[in-house]
Symmetry: C2
Subunit: 339 residues, 2 copies
């Protein structure tokens, strides 16, 4: 048997844990039933109990190398503490890493959830074998990560990959960050519902209005379902989504020129209705994509005023994540192998 590590996905509502061998084979995946948001002490007890159980079960064949924990929020990587998390209000300032390391005696790594998802997709998912890639997660907001040479590129303060706040509409919708027209105001679950409610209020979307009044929890899934049924206002919402998201991606591709951009998160299921408009926008707005597009439109960059050094003619791939909700589990298990 092989050495193994533990990946933990500490979501806002679920605690999921997996044991994964160092060559990327899943040994076991468990769901821990516990109330996460309120009190960290109790959750950490249950988490450690589950890790101990997995460790003793698989420990005779190989060594436990450590555990990596993906957390939705702002993490102080040096201190091993959650600085701020909208979904885990009781966890701010709690010494998560220290408390778990003390109990288990194995190296513990905390990381932002979009960044572990990127590691998971790079290790065992859509970007397997691709050393330099970016991941964009579409959820209530937009999460982002840059992976260089197989490792998270954090930037100076761990904030590299803050794609959701790229401006796509200079005088657009006000964002919580104080800016107008941030990408995540147009390309996120929250944005989909907002656009639908605005269309309903304007009397432009009878089917959406019906769905909203029938459903107390009117969500982006409902709106996606209507789009799939051909409802024009619902489709228009995803076209606007695709336009904004494509503009954001075009900027990222121009700045980074990476081999692959993986799109994940819950809202990425709507890929079929937003991706056509997204690609249209990227093609138009990214000189780097135009010069490296897979279906061979090479040469466009040379006609323009780009002062660039072209090394090879490799292609830019923009694609969907393949690990779904498990990307964070695999990415968490990857962390101890990289450190």
């Amino acid at each position: 048997m092989s050495d193994f590590s533990i990946g933990v996905d500490l979501g806002g509502t679920n605690l999921r844990i997996a044991a994964v061998t160092s060559d990327g084979r899943l040994l076991e995946k468990v769901n821990v039933n516990t109330k996460i948001g309120v009190e960290p002490h109790h959750v950490i007890e249950e988490m450690c109990e589950a890790i101990r159980r997995l460790s003793s079960q698989y420990g005779n064949g190989g060594k436990l190398l450590g555990a990596g924990i993906g957390i939705p929020g702002i993490i102080d990587l040096e201190a091993g503490v959650v600085s701020k998390s909208a979904n885990l209000p009781g966890w701010s300032g709690y010494p998560v890493r220290e408390e778990i390391e003390r109990r288990l005696g194995t190296p513990i790594f905390l990381e932002n959830d979009a960044k572990v998802a990127a590691l998971g997709e790079q290790w065992l998912g859509a970007a397997r074998g691709v050393r330099d890639m970016a991941m964009i997660t579409l959820g209530t907001g937009i999460g982002g990560a840059i992976v260089l040479d197989g490792k998270i590129f954090h930037g100076m303060n761990g904030m590299a990959g803050e794609y959701g706040h790229i401006t796509v509409e200079p005088e657009g919708v006000l964002c919580g960050c104080g800016n107008r027209g941030c990408a995540e105001r147009y390309a996120s679950a929250t944005a989909i519902v907002r656009m639908a409610r605005e269309m309903i209020a304007a009397g432009e979307a009878p089917e959406l209005a019906k769905a909203a009044s029938a459903d107390a929890e009117f969500t982006s899934q409902t709106i996606y379902k209507l789009a799939k049924q051909g409802d024009q206002p619902a489709l228009e919402i995803f076209r606007r989504f695709g336009r904004a998201f494509g503009m954001m991606l075009a900027d990222i591709v121009n700045v980074l020129n990476l081999e692959m951009y993986v799109v994940g998160g819950g809202v990425s299921v709507a890929w079929d209705v937003f991706a056509p408009r997204m690609f249209e926008e990227i093609r138009k707005r990214s000189i780097v994509y135009a010069a490296t597009e897979p279906d061979d439109t090479v040469g466009k960059a040379e006609g323009a005023s780009a002062d660039i050094a072209v090394r090879t003619r490799r292609k830019t791939i923009i694609t969907r994540a393949v690990l779904g909700g498990d990307s964070g589990l695999y990415g968490g298990a990857r962390l101890p192998l990289l450190n």
Copy 2:
């Protein structure tokens, strides 16, 4: 004495060469009088003669480690060939590296001019001691580079840092790349003159109109001079410049979260008239800058929906280049030391 290397700045009109010690001391700087644009063979002969002279003059004290050549255009780094250069029309496809290496028997490195400028500023200029930085050069267009751990980050095809084609106005001015609203359509020497001509045509800028009719070569310098004298239409042009450039920088800071962004190139002399509006825009539009601004406005990022992992509270510095036209000479001389 110390080992040394040669930096070559192969501009559209000038050929400049410098010998620099490996600890960054300038030994000598020469201007070679030759017609550059037309025929590479002759220019390479003169370049090699000058390098040979420098080499024999300083070679008794130390070893020549190689030469790095900054070129305005698209360079095939693997082949050592200029793929395309608007300023050096006769050079496309010419085996520059091979021809020089054959003559001199020392390692030769070609690089895009904005990228060598970045290396120069990182080695001996504004970003001395800063390992991770970006450079933006403001000229007829916008050049860009990313430096990570003291080396150029090229991306997959050498196109990383293509900042000038970031969209800042979704339905804005048409760009040569086919997109609308690219940053360099608003923040470059070309853009300054275009905006001035539009204001003149609209009858909104009497002083600019006077200057344009008096001056056959109506340039961005003339417009800058009028702005410095307090001419309101000229000042308005640089405010628009600053707004677009600030929006572009805000996106870059959100994506990269680097320690320093250095602004160089000929048009950066107008810093005093465009920078106030530029900083205003960056502050408003970059959640990463807001959280890491030097005058301590920390905390803004935490109030928003950013899912980020904050590692430290280090500050983001956006500043002017200090080496002026010599950044490319120093950066060229740096190349052999990095390879």
